[in-house]
């Protein structure tokens, strides 16, 4: 095997492309390989083009990669969409000759025809097992671990009964057998499993957010379903009751944040998950939570907007909303995830920061990360630091909104005699009585903002990769960081002097780190997946630097190749 292989499977939505891909990814991970998946699927339930791509490697994988090495097309539409991307050295596996696909030869591209439709329809009399035939062929062609797959297929279909298990296993074997007897392998791609590590887990971005919440001590989750955030709720609904937690599906996003606010007032660590349109609806209560100084977490799994936009595609375009959305002046904290590990650890951080500063914390994930699965090191729970809000337990004169140097004041929880107070959205005195005088509003606004004045020093807000004297420095946030990491590595291998800053905290903008970084390089480049260069705009305003922008906005994340080309162009 070369360093790694990227396989793309394209077919009709609902045809089993995703589930076949999931099984292959899992089997690879079990065989000790690193895997990272990338899926796109149509917004429609049935039909439309669904794509499952996955990258396997014996070494660490940084991003979803540039394009594919191997493409498996299950129908004519998938072939039409992908044929223009075929390059010398690629392999095309297709449903032929009876599957309606008749590819033209492309110089340097190896083509394997597997009669998937015929085998499943005629030989097996089970048209729905076409995806399994394809899977069997792929496994045989590139030496994926068959034993592991057989077990996964068994597990997946066990609930549906022995008959279904057997049909699928037969289809898997038929695909493999067809390759063994009829195909002469002429490509160079073969996977070489390593010894599996015992402590790895495989999960998606949304599952990692759910797990992070549970581990951080989340006791309450309320949401309204929205793509691509719903799996957070689905996972928590299944597992949170085991920890005596509560999951509610609310009537809308306003109600779900309302539920979370009430739960937080009552003392619970509480969270909601949504995507852009839902976060829009939440902004009034977001301001209330900040004013009332209630800890809570909102995971915003971004999709393309505005409006219904691109429901199943990803974009990094909710940053302004997360950082700036809402009327009046109020603080909130925004973290951005780049990897599955981030989804887990930043969710834990989000709860900790919310509790510490008593304010809303928004996690920005995105559609590509939501559905991507990746193998990560099993978290060491003993190493996680869990923070709880400062709770008043006295019985004297309780000042809920006491003006302190840190801006943080103790909160009392219902049930505590002597701790009674009114959490309020009205401007108020230290004891929460309504007060609208200019002095009070100024004093309390400053108190609220003072809480996060030093957050950059108190929280490891960004990661620096460089040695302090480079020709170009890249600042990126969220998913883009993955492709930047790979591009930086490639550029350095070619002798270019490139450094990078990877903020986890995107609001408040980590100004000190950014200024220091900017002064260590000749030029700063900021790639992001949105039209307005939203982070660049915040960086310009807060850190006073003027980065070169590189914005893309087609609903797909950056490839490392795009970043690499841009670095070379502007260096």
């Amino acid at each position: 095997m070369g360093k790694d292989i990227i396989i793309r499977v394209g077919g009709e939505g609902g045809e089993g492309v995703i589930s076949a891909g999931d099984m292959l990814a899992k089997a690879s991970a079990r065989a000790g390989l690193e895997v990272l998946t990338f899926k796109t699927f149509p917004a429609e339930i049935k039909g439309g083009y669904a794509m499952y791509q996955f990258r396997v490697s014996a070494e660490e994988i940084l991003s979803h990669g540039d394009t594919f090495n191997i493409v498996v097309v299950l129908n004519a539409e998938a072939y039409e969409i992908n044929k223009g991307l075929l390059k010398p050295g690629n392999v095309l596996v297709y449903d032929g000759p009876d599957g309606g696909i008749d590819p033209k030869p492309v110089e340097g591209v190896v083509q394997y025809a597997i009669p998937m439709t015929k085998i499943s329809k005629v030989d097996l009399a089970s048209p729905i097992s076409k995806n399994m035939v394809a899977l069997g062929a792929v496994v045989q062609l590139f030496s994926f671990p068959m034993d592991s797959l057989v077990e996964l297929v068994r597990n997946k279909f066990r609930k549906k009964g022995e008959e279904i298990v057997n049909i699928n296993l037969k289809a898997l074997e038929a695909g493999a057998e067809y390759v063994r007897s009829n195909i002469k392998k002429t490509d160079k791609f073969t996977v070489h499993p390593k010894k599996p590590e015992g402590d790895a887990i495989l999960l998606s971005g949304n599952e990692a957010i759910g797990l992070g919440a549970l581990v951080a001590g989340c006791e309450f989750f309320s949401c309204y379903p929205i793509t691509p955030a719903t799996e957070i709720a689905i996972w928590l609904a299944k597992h949170l009751p085991k920890t005596n937690g509560v999951v509610v599906q609310a009537e809308d996003e306003i109600a779900s944040l309302g539920h979370v606010i009430g739960a937080s007032y009552a003392g619970a660590k509480a969270m909601t998950g949504t995507s852009g349109p839902g976060l829009d609806l939440m902004t009034e209560l977001l301001g209330f939570a900040s004013m009332a100084e209630l800890p809570l977490v909102i995971a915003d799994v971004q999709r393309g907007g505005p409006s219904t936009g691109l429901p199943t595609k990803s974009e990094q375009s909710d940053l302004f909303l997360a950082a700036r959305g809402g009327h009046g002046d109020f603080p909130r904290i925004v973290l951005a995830t780049a990897t599955i590990e981030d989804c887990f650890y930043l969710t834990v951080d989000a709860f900790n920061l919310a509790e510490k500063y008593q304010m809303p914390v928004i996690i920005l994930s995105d559609g590509s990360l939501a559905f991507r699965t990746e193998k990560i090191k099993r978290p060491d729970l003993a190493k996680l630091n869990i923070i709880n809000r400062e709770v008043y337990s006295g019985n004297g004169e309780f000042k809920r909104y006491e003006v302190t140097d840190s801006g943080i004041s103790a909160v009392s929880l219902p049930g505590h005699p002597g701790g009674q107070y009114i959490a309020t959205g009205l401007e108020h005195s230290e004891t929460a009585a309504p007060k609208y005088s200019p002095d009070y509003h100024a004093m309390m606004t400053e108190k609220r903002f003072r809480k996060i004045e030093n957050i950059e020093d108190e929280y490891a807000a960004s990661e620096y990769d460089g040695n302090g004297d480079e020709d170009i420095g890249i600042i990126s946030w969220g998913l883009t960081q993955c492709s930047v990491r790979e591009a930086v590595k490639r550029c350095r291998d070619k002798g270019l002097k490139v450094s990078a800053l990877y903020p986890k905290l995107v609001f408040p903008v980590p100004v000190k780190a950014i200024r220091k970084f900017a002064s260590s390089v000749k030029k700063v480049l900021m790639p992001e997946v949105n039209y307005q260069g939203q982070f660049a705009e915040l960086v310009r305003a807060h850190a006073g630097i003027n980065p070169i922008r590189y914005d893309i906005y087609g609903g797909l994340p950056f490839t490392p190749e795009q970043i690499e080309a841009k670095i070379k162009e502007v260096i």
Binding site: K26, A29, R30, P196, A200, I201, L202, E207, L211, L214, V215, F220, S222, H239, P241, K242, T243, N244, G245, V246, V248, A250, E251, D252, I254, A255, G258, H259, V260, I261, G262, A263, S264, Y265, A266, G267, A268, A270, E284, L285, F288, A292, R378, P379, L381, P414, G415, H416, P417, G418, G419, Q420, Y421, I422, A423, T424, G425, L426, A433, P434
Partner: protein
């Protein structure tokens, strides 16, 4: 430690004086509420009053329990969150007709059908008070307000019929100056397991010159005289439909009460079936993702 002896109604009053106009119906609701608290030995530490925005929504400041003064229309979901997170707390929502039937109207069907164990007391003055004289969802047709100078073209909403149809398990109506009935209904509602709804007609003498104390007094009628079987939803609904506020009589009292598992009970069942524990084995949960 909480004082164990029974508190007097005035012990539930904070030192923040109400900001309401002289003669506002909301004073009567506040008085009935503290009477009900006293009569039911409500603990100031274990009771939470939640409100939205409006004249009526200022009420939590005037009481010594825990409280939240939140956003216009959102008191019901916020109260729901409190109750679901801490089922042992008594959670009561107070607010106006605009707050609960208009901007927050979308929450009412769900709190009712889910049978969330909270009490909602609507202080219904058929006008927007705080924003000074605009039409409300319960304003009568043709009412002249600042935003309907030519008379309101809207058909008014029937709060009791709504609550019944949405599935509330305790539905009552009272009148602000009828302190004994109001306090009694609030007490019953607080002890009801499930969603309890009380519409308290609470006149606004400043802006609503039609639905006044004087207008209502002769029309009020104790519902118990004509409606004994509180489990008869169809009868309750037909009374609500035929004896509206613009008709000859306005029934006050308990319209309907039903025993149905509350949301808190159902949640607790889910936790039990999943062997919920406060000391979970997190490693076992992480094992879900093992290869």
């Amino acid at each position: 430690m909480e004082v164990t002896q029974q508190l007097k109604p005035k012990d539930y009053r904070s030192d923040i004086p109400p900001v309401w106009c002289a003669g506002c119906g909301d004073y009567g609701v506040l008085a009935s509420l503290t009477t009900a608290f006293s009569a039911n030995h409500a603990s100031t530490a274990n009771t939470v009053l939640v409100s939205g925005i409006g004249c009526s929504s200022r009420l939590p400041y005037f009481v010594t329990t825990f409280g939240m003064h939140t956003c216009h229309g959102r008191a019901v979901p916020i109260a729901t969150g409190i109750k679901l997170a801490r089922p042992e707390l008594k959670v009561i929502v107070v607010g106006g007709d605009g707050d609960n039937f208009s901007i927050g109207g979308g929450h009412l069907p769900h709190v009712a059908r889910k049978n969330i164990d909270i009490t909602l007391i609507v202080m219904d003055n058929s006008i927007y008070g705080l924003t000074k004289n605009q039409v409300s969802p319960t304003s009568r047709a043709g009412m002249v307000t600042s935003t309907t100078p030519h008379g309101s073209p809207d058909v008014p909403l029937n709060p009791i019929a709504y609550a019944l149809v949405y599935g509330a398990t305790f539905v009552a109506q009272s009148f602000s100056s009828n302190a004994r009935l109001t306090a009694d209904l609030i007490g019953q509602a607080m002890n009801h397991k499930g969603f309890a709804f009380i519409n308290v007609i609470s006149p606004c003498p400043t802006f609503n010159k039609v639905d006044t104390f004087e207008y209502y007094k002769p029309l009020l009628r104790n519902i118990d005289e004509i409606h004994a079987d509180k489990g008869d939803k169809v009868k309750a609904l037909s009374l609500a439909m035929t004896m509206g506020r613009e008709s000859a009589t306005v029934p006050i009292g308990l319209f309907y009460q039903e025993k149905r598992p509350s949301y808190v009970e159902l949640l607790s069942g889910i936790k039990t079936r999943n062997k919920g524990t406060n000391n979970p084995d997190l490693e076992k949960i992480i094992d879900v993702f093992k290869l």
